[in-house]
């Protein structure tokens, strides 16, 4: 009975879909990125496009990229993890202390990953089985993990003299910094996981509508805990990269708004607050925008305090746009 009315309408719709599949959202992010490049290129083209500066941007976004990608996973599942900055700080300390006592780079890496996983497990269990709002849980653990980092290190910076460990943060492979390669690996891994694997796709179902997911036989608590553990591990990787780059474990590291930037990038990339939406490519583009913006603001000598204003505004704008898109569709 609807066939005659539906056919022409749907034909138009499928063309719209084709454009959408190319990625109308990612396209608009690219446009924004190019816009920023043009602005900063015009203002400080001499410095901005130098190899050294571009590598600087790449270094700067590597840690952020890892966090933004895993944050995308958490948000798609219907959660949020604002404790990642603190986990980064905690893992730099744990890694540095382990390397100091064992003098083995591998042990330090292992310690960072394990501490990150435990921190994520704690978040996941509290959110899932404690039935506490994810923002509240991770706001609380943000303070807890930071506190533990200070207690462990006694508030001191712990130096790392292991050269093979420091290579992770400062070395290069085919001219590109190692952290950037790690970001590429994480991005590819997550892309395949989120978009191609059955388990990853199930996160879209869980975030999109938990009741439907449960009535389709998914074990939601297990999935939820797992994504927080993944988020913790990725923050651990971020901590390892940071410790390797700075050659130290510092309890305050990662406290300069890393989680804010990661969450901003995820929302810029197309996540929806209530879950069920978001892509790895989008998050990467969001990260690139933030990296360019940060670098450009420094080059054009925007005072630090104003940079903070810009970052906060960008987060709110990103979420506003995400909700606006959702309501329109």
């Amino acid at each position: 009975m609807t066939a005659q009315t539906a056919t022409p309408e749907k034909a138009g719709f499928s063309m719209h879909r084709t454009i959408e599949r190319i990625g109308i959202h990612n396209l608009s992010l690219l446009v924004a990125l190019v816009g920023l490049l043009v602005i900063f290129g015009t203002l400080r083209g001499d410095v901005f496009f130098s190899t050294r500066n571009l590598l600087n941007i790449g270094m700067g976004v590597a840690i952020l990229g890892v966090l933004a990608i895993s944050q995308t996973g958490v948000i798609v599942s219907g959660g949020l993890d604002i404790s990642v900055g603190s986990i980064v700080g905690l893992t730099t300390v744990a890694t540095a202390m382990t390397i100091q006592s064992t003098e083995a780079a591998g042990m330090g890496i292992l310690a960072g990953v394990i501490i990150g996983a435990l921190a994520g497990l704690m978040n996941g269990i509290l959110v899932t089985y404690g039935r506490i709002n994810a923002v509240i849980v991770t706001l609380g653990t943000m303070a807890i993990f930071r506190g533990i980092a200070f207690i462990l290190s006694d508030g001191q910076s712990i130096s790392i003299f292991n050269d093979s460990f420091r290579w992770i943060g400062t070395g290069r492979i085919i001219g590109l910094p190692v952290p950037l390669w790690i970001l590429v690996a994480v991005a590819i891994g997550f892309y395949i996981f989120m978009h191609k694997s059955i388990v990853g796709r199930n996160y879209y179902a869980i975030g999109g509508n938990p009741i439907v997911a449960r009535l389709s036989g998914l074990n939601i608590p297990r999935y939820r805990v797992a994504i927080y553990v993944v988020s913790g591990v990725m923050a651990g990787v971020g901590g390892i990269l940071l410790a390797a780059r700075t050659g130290s474990g510092q309890p305050i590291s990662g406290s300069d708004g890393l989680e804010l930037e990661a969450i901003t990038a995820a929302f810029l990339g197309g996540c929806a607050m209530q879950g069920g939406r978001g892509t790895v490519i989008g998050a990467l583009l969001g990260v690139a925008i933030i990296g360019v913006l940060n670098n450009g603001m420094i080059l054009t000598a925007v005072p630090t305090f104003y940079q903070m204003l810009a970052k906060g505004t960008l987060l709110i704008l990103a979420v506003f746009l995400a909700e606006y898109r959702l309501n329109k569709s």
Binding site: T2, A6, E9, S14, I198, I211, G217
Partner: protein
Amino acid sequence: MSTPFLRTEALTKHFGPVRALTDISIDVHAGQVLALVGENGAGKSTLMRLLEGVFAPTRGRIYIDGQEMRFSQPKEAHAAGIRVIHQEPEIVPDLTVAENIFAGALPRRGRYFLDWSTLLTETTRLLKTFGMASELHPRQLCSGLGPAQRQMIEIMRAVQAGGRMIAFDEPTSSLTEEETRRLFKIIRRLKADGVGIIYISHRLPEIIALADRVVVLRDGTLVDDLPAEGVTEQQITRMMVGRPLSEMFPHRDPATGDVVLKVQGMTTEHVHDVSFELRRGEVLGIGGLIGAGRSELAKGIFGFHRRTSGTVLIDGIELPSGSTAGAIAAGIGFAPEDRKDEALLLLQTILENAVLCVPQKVSNGGFFSRSKALNLISGISSQMRLKAASLDAPITSLSGGNQQKVVLTRWLACDLKVLILDEPTRGIDVGAKSEIYDLIRKLTDEQGLGVIVISSEMPELLGLSDRVLVMSDGRVRAHFDRSEATEEAVMQAAIPHGQSFDGALKHEGAGA
């Protein structure tokens, strides 16, 4: 005859591809009761919303006293004298009786102050005219009032605001017999005072008792408009359904397969001590009023609710409690009543929705295989005559009937033994409805599935089922074979204990 108070001309409302209402022309005269009947989804509520200015018509005209009107919001329809008394009375519980009756038209003293003394005198006067003075006090808070009293307040509000046509939407669904009699008296008085009445009800005896004219809607179109005098219930029913029931539900021999599902003493937070058996190839209907625990029974079997005691066996093997994954693995499928909130992922495509329960069939080593998914789903969906431009279209681009077909596709993709359908044809047009009935037949007769159908639509329940269980208060109250299952018998059993037949019928709407 004189100019009718209200006239509609070819009034039409389409929501995208859904034709809710097409070319409805009716007259409502002052001092006349026009009864509006039709099955669920026939378009009665849509018509009310058009008259009340909640929706704007797609085309067609509304005339009041011969003058064309265009309502863009309820306020304008109210000003023209149109009032609708809804099933759920719109009462502010924390305000007094007087304030609720005069809501929107409170007498004032000066610009900012309420004129309490006028309000009280006016209210007392109204309460007296309606014979409610002994029952309601003007200063009483409305939070403690029963449904009948709330309804009276709405009627008084309509009258005091100068309502010239009052429409009642299932007004007796939550009233006792005594209250119903009182309502009828008041409707007859309103009629005598020259108010035009539209009376919507499923209760045909009420319609025959009250109405001057009967208008029958079916699938959004006007089937007949005839004088109420001499009309019989059978006549109205035939017009509502449109064809003899036997055509939609061909006779079949009851199934005699093995028992596939056995529920023994199942108790959850919502249902108590439920026991029954389902055979292969059998359709078991579950009847009862809204809130009787029918959906909860399904969710208990399916593992959505944890069982506190009792067992559920599939082919003699016990299912784990509280595990939907376990139920699906054992071969149970469940299509819930609320498609949008419980069945569909609205952000995703048809294909993604269809493969949700068969990850192992659409993957290679844990990774999604599009070709496998398309192979599996396109076969089933074409069998179901799913009308969609592409399986990659968003699920929200489909009509209700086609969305339901996607939900069924999802379950047919699994290797099912038992399929539980909760209100499978709710909000679905008649064409898709009969397709779904055919599908249920095919599943039982050709594939030997056991099917449980939960339905509030009596013809559907009785027409589809080989046996009928009736629930109330979370318990199974009765069990009928096809030959014993009549509308009266099912209703009688559905009534919560300790209430009369007539009184309890009315709970049907209260829980909705």
